[in-house]
Amino acid sequence: MQEETSGTIKKFMFVNRRAPYGTVYALEALEVALISAAFDQDISMVFLDDGVYELVKGQQTKAIDVKNFSPAYRALEGYDIEKLYVDADSLAARGLTEDNLLVPAQVLSAAQMAELMDQQDVVIGF
C-alpha cells in the first residue's frame, strides 16, 4: 500500500509503555506504525516500562479470549519497520533479558533512549 506523502519523510516514534493485553493501546500502536509505513515514513518503535512485555516470547491469550497479536511484531520487518528499541532498565526491572524477546531489538540505556527521542519529529505514546 502506497499513500500520498508529498515527498516528506519524517522520523516517527511510537512509544509503547503498556502490557500487550488489558488495554487496546499495544494493538493500536501496531496499526499506526503500519499506516505510517504506508506513508513511507522513518519509523521507530520503542518499548519501555510494561511495554517490554509486548515483545516477550510465548504469549498465550486463549484463556482471556483475545487474539494473540504478538506474531505481528515479527512481520514488521516486511513493512520496513526495523528500528525496534527496548529500554534496558525496564527489562531488568521485570527479570527479563534480550533472550526473552520474540524479535531482534536494540537494548538502550535511558540516556541513549532520551537522545534517540530528541532526534524525532513526531512522538506518539501508547
Binding site: 499513500e3 506523502t5 508529498s6 516528506t8 519524517k10 516517527f12 487496546v24 493501546y25 493500536e28 496499526e31 499506526v32 499506516i35 505510517s36 504506508a38 506513508f39 515514513q41 519529529d121 513526531v122 512522538v123 506518539i124 505514546g125
Partner: protein, 119 residues
C-alpha cells in the same frame, strides 16, 4: 507555526479534551495555525452530538464544533475507534468528520508540531 493536535481521551472523565481545546484557543490567539485536530481512542467520544451535560457545565462537544466553525479547523475522528464505540456519521456533531488513521499520520507529516493530549 502549523500545529497538529491529537486528543486521546473522551470528554468529562479526563482533562485531556479540555486542555487540548484551551491549547488550541491559546495557539490561535497567538497567531498560530491549527492544521487538524485528530480524535483517537476514547477521544472519539468528543464527536457525538447526543452529548448533554448539565446546564451549569461546559459543553465540550459544542465547544469543538464552534472552534471548527469559527476558525475553519478540520476535526477528524478515527473510523475504527469510532465504530467500535457506536460513533457514526448520523450522530456526529457539527464540524466533525470520520476518516482513517492515515489522517493522523498525515497530520504528523504536514504540521510543524504534533501535540498529544491524553495518557
Amino acid at each position: 507555526m502549523k500545529l497538529g493536535i491529537l486528543v486521546n481521551e473522551g470528554p468529562y472523565t479526563h482533562q485531556a479534551s479540555d486542555t487540548a481545546y484551551q491549547f488550541a484557543m491559546a495557539a490561535l490567539a497567538k497567531g498560530h495555525q491549527i492544521y487538524r485536530v485528530f480524535f483517537y481512542h476514547d477521544g472519539v467520544n468528543n464527536a457525538t452530538r447526543l452529548t448533554e451535560p448539565p446546564q451549569d457545565d461546559r459543553h465540550i462537544v459544542n465547544r469543538w464544533s464552534k472552534l471548527a466553525e469559527e476558525h475553519g479547523i478540520d476535526l477528524v475522528v478515527c473510523v475504527a475507534a469510532a465504530l467500535r464505540r457506536g460513533i457514526k456519521d448520523e450522530i456526529l456533531a457539527k464540524g466533525f468528520r470520520i476518516s482513517g488513521l492515515g489522517q493522523l499520520v498525515e497530520t504528523g507529516i504536514q504540521a510543524d508540531r504534533l501535540v498529544v493530549f491524553g495518557d
